[in-house]
């Protein structure tokens, strides 16, 4: 017997709006910005022979857009599987840049200064095209082999740039002459992309009655056709107030330096993964893996000169060893215990060379070893049929190895090589009535670490227990939030209520507070988050259903900054969704969905009495940083009419309204202008209407 099911969908879509109106919508639409009408075509084919057991499934979607996908699955289940797919994906930049640059997408673009807004609009986008193949063979009931590979080609260009402000330490040729030459510049230079990424997976799996074992190999091979970016710098650039001035010779040289693009790299991983089903109540599992990642792109071949004598490539190598053991057991009917122990050691074996020369000082690159040990243990106890309690414990140790003594710490004010964090968790769940249950969970964690490393202003570091001690001069230091002592508290409340057979309501409240006890007065001091959500689902009738949710959250970050400035960041977000689905008649299905998101970020700045007069004047005049708001309404209406047993028509209308008030590229009519006159535009309010009508014909 053979079963064959086929469906073909074809239709038309229409979208309004110009490039500026559609910038956000077109991020992943797969449509050209000039395209207002587009075709819709997809198909699904399934054929199964019940005598041989061979089944084939072929699907295709979005065939008439730039996001087309094709997939084939051909198998005799329990014996062999062959699969293949082809996928495309285009991502468009949501900011539209107007620039005089030519050669975008090449490794040698030519910059030409233009009066802001008088250049050409650019369509920055990246395009991925990938092919995947897979094969699986069940060799015997206990043995299975899998092989899969994927190759992806990525092209296009994305937002990037170069910039420099000549410091006084450099020769006058760089700083230039004030008012006559420009000694600084931020340039718009899109990054060209033309690369291939190939991945391969091979695996042999063994399953006995209680034991499962799997041996695998994973390989990743990244090849970039472009080694470096060589922008051609114009002779004149705009100064910060918009006057076109000759570029100082030193600055021109620095801005014209080649920029390294991502180098080729490779990674090979071997792993053994397994589980032992000790009995019906207890299971142990594990994974051991060893990965070698290397990077040895030849500098000269990549167009990068000036390497230390005798060094032709980095010879980068990072060996990672991972071991994880997990278990789950139920020693008593009411008690269950789970745990994992994980160890990972990233051993950076990249050779050292004198890549940094500053005057008469020579520094090497820096190795970044990273070793983590993490343990988690959790016990759940069912006190009664209504009450259930959970206790959890976690411990994480991070060891960043020995600081490379021949390197310098410039740019980072304080580091510490070891941190340790302990987490405690408790949860109580109660089934209060048949229709109502609730839970409360508390989590507390504390992190501390080893001594701090003080920058020697030269080679290496000195270990100090208190970086703020007199004479150390670290009081202006910023201490990484990932390294600083931290106390974290979280509370979670959950409720699940079903007052009627047809109505269910879920609620959740999450509150979290992080307090940093870093010894410095700058950097992150504390953060907090609160989020409340309510979801509901109501079956109005057997044919009609309505569901929805409301979510509201707040996030805060308080941060100390130099010049006695303090910045408090507040982010509030509200998300609402409402959906209706139903059957109007036996042939007509209808759906409506409305969603709304508002995100508002506000910034509060404060200065103390020691702040400079210029800072105080600027803050008083400007009123501080403006808020950033994002609002999006999306309305979707859909209908499906079943013409007969074989065919149906589906229509979908969507309206998107996006308002994004963000000062990154423009504020109050004043655009951010690159030194070559490039400006970026994101239209404040964007409206898009999309209509899709698809006819589907199916047959068996």
């Amino acid at each position: 017997d053979t079963v064959t099911e086929t469906s073909v969908s074809a239709g038309l879509g229409a979208v309004d709006g110009n490039r500026l109106d559609r910038a956000q919508f077109d991020q992943y639409s797969g449509l050209r910005p000039s395209q207002h009408v587009f075709g819709l075509f997809g198909l699904d084919y399934y054929r199964r022979n019940d005598d041989t057991g061979v089944a084939v499934r072929f699907g295709a979607s979005d065939l008439l857009t730039d996001n087309r996908e094709l997939g084939l699955h051909w198998a005799r289940q329990g014996d062999w599987v062959f699969s293949a797919d082809y996928k495309e994906l285009v991502r468009r930049e949501t900011v539209i840049f107007n620039s005089g640059i030519t050669g975008v997408g090449s490794a040698a673009p030519v910059l030409l200064p233009v009066t802001p807004g008088t250049g050409s609009d650019l369509d920055l986008r990246t395009r991925r095209e990938g092919v995947g193949l897979g094969f699986r063979k069940v060799i015997s009931p206990s043995l299975q082999f899998e092989l899969s590979g994927r190759t992806e080609h990525k092209t296009g260009s994305r937002l990037f740039g170069v910039g420099f402000a000549c410091p006084s330490a450099l020769a006058i040729t760089c700083t230039g002459t004030n008012g006559i030459q420009t000694g600084s510049g931020v340039l718009f230079v899109p990054e060209p992309i033309d690369s291939d990424h190939n991945q391969v997976d091979a695996r042999l799996s063994f399953a006995a009655e209680k034991l499962r074992l799997s041996f695998g190999y994973y390989g990743s091979f990244y090849q970039n056709s472009l080694g470096s970016l060589h922008p051609q710098i114009p002779g004149s650039l705009f100064n910060p107030t918009g006057t076109l001035l000759p570029v100082s010779s030193g600055l021109a040289g620095i801005l014209g330096n080649p920029v390294a693009l991502p180098p080729d790299n490779q990674a090979h991983q071997l792993d053994i993964t397994g589980a032992y089903l000790y009995n019906a109540r207890s299971t142990v599992n594990f994974k051991l893996s060893r990965t070698r990642a290397t990077q040895n792109a030849n500098f000269l071949a990549e167009g990068l000169s000036g390497a230390p004598a005798g060094v032709s490539d980095l010879g980068g190598r990072v060996d990672t060893t991972l071991a994880q053991v997990g278990f789950s057991t139920r020693p008593l009917a009411k008690l269950s215990v789970q745990g994992t122990l994980r160890y990972e050691d990233r051993d950076d074996k990249t050779p050292l060379a004198l890549y940094n020369v500053e005057g008469t000082s020579f520094y090497t690159n820096r190795q970044l070893p990273y070793r983590t040990t993490k343990a988690k243990l959790q016990a759940n106890y069912q006190f009664t049929s209504a009450w259930r309690g959970t206790l959890g414990f976690g411990r994480e140790l991070i060891d960043r190895g020995v600081f490379t003594p021949t390197s310098a710490t410039a740019g980072v004010t304080a580091e510490r090589q070891k941190t340790a964090e302990t987490t405690y968790r408790a949860e109580l769940r109660r089934q209060m009535t048949e229709a109502f249950s609730g839970a409360v969970a508390l989590e507390h964690s504390e992190r501390s670490g080893s001594n701090w490393l003080r920058d020697n202003s030269g080679l290496g570091v000195t270990e100090v227990p208190d970086p703020n001690a007199p004479g150390i001069g670290f009081d202006r230091g910023i201490f990484m939030p990932t390294l600083a002592d931290r106390r974290r508290d979280k509370v979670r409340l959950l409720a699940d209520w079903q007052p009627l057979d047809k109505l269910s309501v879920q609620g959740a409240l999450d509150v979290g507070i992080d307090r940093y006890q870093a010894p410095g007065v700058y950097g992150v001091r504390d953060t907090s988050m609160r989020q409340a959500t309510v979801d509901f689902n109501y079956a109005i009738t057997d044919a009609w259903n309505v569901n929805g949710f409301v979510a509201h959250g707040n996030q805060t970050i308080d941060q100390g900054r130099p010049d006695q400035a303090f910045l408090a960041f507040r982010n509030g977000e509200t998300n609402v969704g409402l959906g209706l689905t139903g059957k109007a008649t036996s042939k007509l299905e209808l759906g409506a969905n409305l969603s709304y998101l508002q995100d508002r970020a506000t910034f509060v700045q404060a200065l103390d009495t020691t702040a400079s007069a210029a800072d105080a004047a600027l803050l008083a005049a400007s009123g501080g940083l403006p808020p950033i708001t994002f609002r999006q309404h999306v309305l979707r209406l859909s209908g499906k009419y079943t013409v007969d047993k074989k065919s149906s028509v589906r229509a979908e209308f969507a309206h998107y309204r996006t308002r994004w008030d963000d000062w990154a590229w423009n504020f109050n009519g004043t655009p951010f202008v690159f030194a070559d006159g490039t400006v970026g535009t994101r239209k404040l309010v964007q409206h898009v209407n999309v209509l899709r009508v698809v006819y589907t014909y199916s047959w068996k």
Binding site: G179, S195, L304, I557, L567, L618, P626
Partner: protein, 299 residues
């Protein structure tokens, strides 16, 4: 294998009229000797097949999977894992976050259907939102992976059945998971950026953000959480605000004038902020030893 005899009694009542079409489900495959029968998952259920003497009605099957089931999660999951733990991607289920949270396989999966929501990319995400509501809001933000557009799904980064990575990441670490699509960030580089080598999530929120490139906070604030910033720009302000290009008051020069260097309040806070100049935030492979050396990730 299937105990066809034992299942015969089931189909006397639970025929094609009673159950939805699941002919394309893997459990229905006609020639795969491993496919289960009714009793494989529900137990022999003699009290359900035939009403016990004295009982007011038939008993439910030994193991049930409905919303109000009395079968414990562990019992239900043991049925599934007895076969499905043979797949490598499910070997690390025991002790994983979802197992520890007492999630049952049937909380996400449906069997008697051809359209199991958990198996289709288009419907999987909505299923995950059922519990992961914070991610539902984050993915509605403007800078996101193409998940709302249906071009990616949670499974592209997470293995919900257990993994050796954090947050059930598909690969052994967050970075290794990211590198499977963003291999250009792997390096190693001549001048690495330490947090980028350790955890991409130090700076990025892969579920979405209102800041370009899915950054967790707006630069320069994000960068200044670790770095001592240039003093110019100590007070955040942007072009278009009073005091930036115009004098805030008599005797006080504007924050940005004709001779102001590139590290001014506008170039530090607007455009790409810090990465206007420090453009190689994922690391630079430029070996040049000449000043300015690429260690500050300029080029």
């Amino acid at each position: 294998g299937v105990d066809a005899e034992a299942s015969k009694a089931c189909v006397e009542c639970h025929d094609a009229e009673d159950l939805s079409d699941s002919s394309r489900h893997a459990h229905s495959h006609p020639t795969d000797a491993r496919t289960p029968g009714c009793t494989t998952c529900h137990g022999p259920s003699p009290g359900h097949v035939k009403k016990p003497a004295g009982a007011p009605k038939q008993l439910p099957p030994d193991i049930t999977y409905g919303k109000k089931t009395a079968s414990p999660v562990a019992v239900r999951n043991a049925v599934c894992t007895s076969c499905h733990s043979k797949e490598t991607k499910r070997m690390l289920w025991a002790g994983s976050q979802h197992e520890a949270a007492d999630i049952a396989c049937n909380n996400c999966h449906q069997n008697h259907t051809n359209t199991d929501k958990a198996l289709a990319r288009a419907t999987e995400t909505e299923l995950c939102y059922g519990c992961h509501k914070e991610q539902r809001t984050q993915l509605a933000r403007p800078s996101h992976h193409p998940i709302p557009e249906g071009k990616m799904a949670c499974r592209d980064c997470h293995n919900v059945h257990g993994s050796a990575g954090p947050k059930l990441a598909k690969k052994d670490s967050t970075n290794d998971t990211c590198y499977s699509c963003h291999a250009e960030k792997r390096g190693p580089f001549v001048h690495p950026h330490e947090p980028a080598t350790q955890d991409c999530a130090s700076c990025h929120n892969p579920h979405g953000s209102t800041v370009q490139a899915m950054l967790k906070a707006r630069p320069p604030m994000l960068c200044m959480q670790c770095h001592t910033p240039h003093v110019t720009g100590g007070v955040g302000a942007v072009g278009g605000q009073p005091g930036v290009f115009t004098a805030p008051r008599v005797g006080v020069p504007p924050a940005v004038g004709p001779n102001t260097g590139g590290r001014n309040v506008v170039n530090t806070w607007q455009g790409r902020a810090c990465s206007n100049c420090h453009t190689q935030v994922h690391g630079s492979n430029n070996p040049a030893t000449t000043n300015p050396t690429p260690q500050f990730l300029f080029r």
